[in-house]
Amino acid sequence: MTPWQERRRAYLAMLRVEFANATHYRATFLVFALQSTMPLIMLAVWWAATEDGPIRGMGPGDFAAYYLASLAVRQITASWLVWGMNGEIRGGGVMMRLMRPVHPFLAYSAESLAQMPLRLLAALPPMIFALLWLGSAHFTRDPLLLGLFLVSLAGAWLCEFAILVTIGTLGLLVESSIAIYQVWLGVHALLSGYLIPLTMIPEELRGAVALLPFRYLLSFPIEVLLGSLSRGEALRNLGVQWAYAAGFLGVALAVWRAGLRRYQAYGG
């Protein structure tokens, strides 16, 4: 077997085992899906606020489409990787992981990707509900844009993965990166469009926020799906998103090397 064939065999094996493992945690996925109440609560609030007239071009139906799409996208891109990594570092399981001849990032990515079928299952209900209740008027019907949406979804997942794996690795450099993770979750909720659509952010700040990477984690895929962007705009932003993804991966690898070095100094 050539080295590439070997790597492929190894990765497929990891996917297979992680998928089998994930099915044992079906219940956890369900609970996690049910926990995402924030978009629904915000939907209720905006609905009440826009009853008498749309705000910045968004009426009750638009908010409904937005928040339901947001639920679906979040299911796909979120992950409890940071908890897992910190648990491993604190519990010492990281030792066995380091003795394996595979880069831990590959293992973590396999773990995350193997969950995708279950995540897709959890993402379907809000989308189906949205289509049944609102019809397809709020969503784009352009096949190219729909294709770009899928690419942007993958890009969002990649960005999130790189950031999460970085935060998890910080657990090797500081005692526990859970607190850092919670800060990140808070900032993410504010700036990615999870809490409020980015169009609702005041004019002065909107320019800056649109450039920040947070937008590309959640809001951008939704914007594509809802047809808020033209083909050209979607393509251009896709470039930015994947550039961010590459950047974050680079940072993640560098942080990992630093974290590993520190681990090798103290042995945990």
């Binding site: 990891m14 085992v17 030792m95 066995m96 394996r100 090798q264 100094a265 042995g267």
Partner: protein
Amino acid sequence: MPAPAGAPAIEVAHLVKHYEVHHREAGLLASLRSAFSRKRESVPAVSDLSFQIAPGERVGFLGPNGAGKTTTLKILSGLLYPTSGRVRVHGYDPQHREAGFLKSVSLVMGQRHQLYWDLPPVETFALNAALYGVPEDTFRETLGELVELLSLQGVVEKPTRQLSLGERMKCELVCALLHRPRLMFLDEPTIGLDVEMQVIVRTFIQQYNERFGATVMLTSHHMDDVTALCSRVIVIDHGRIQYDGDLGALVRRVCPAKQLVLKLAQPVPRERLAARAEVASLTEAQATLRVPQEALRTVIPQLLAELPILDLSVEDPPLEQVLRELFAGASPLGGPAA
């Protein structure tokens, strides 16, 4: 950078390892202060270790807690990097964790697990086979041999959580050896196991070593692990090698007294025994005496003549005692190398 044939499996030259430790004091005020600034201290764990291990050897690392055994093991397996000194395992520098190195060794730690809890062990086995690049047919062959050696027929297809502790441990061993490593690091492999399981694990490691020629490096608190498996021991204390050589020679050198175990027909008062030799332990049915090697010829006939002895045996002193005397400085060895 794999090593040429005939080269030592492990080469360690002047290995030094210091840890930086944070000073932690008890008390609320100290804890609060420590949140803002910590005092750092450099603690030496290992100082100037040098030794070589040939392929196929079975070597035991002995030493009191905190002596540096686990540190050395972790440096050799690449989990720690040395402060200074040269370390080569199969020609690789372990801290770089190259794939070739990782595939040639295996680390078994008593309390750590590789197996997925909810899945049958075979799933983890197949995963490891893929990760380590073991061809399918070799994998089947090795798996068959290991299952046979450990009597695991029918066990490996059940989910790990349904297995007993002993079965789980055996499966962990299989998992660790599927890729036929040339070198096994064993850190406290029998910890938490009952006596029967300890024997099984020891026998298995011995058989594996004999069948596949793998080098074995073992640290353990169970002296029986070392006595049963290792012909060579390296004794570490305060981060330095106190002894490196044959186990039997170590025992003889440190503790030249033999143990005399007497089975008594009737209880014997301590003073009668103490008159002849040092009494290590005494019950109604058994007495253990310590007698210098040279004195055995005279003491034994006297004891046999005077006391109601049913049975008598001469044994080497237990390793624990040897080590205790070694570390207490009772028997200076005059130099690290054997």
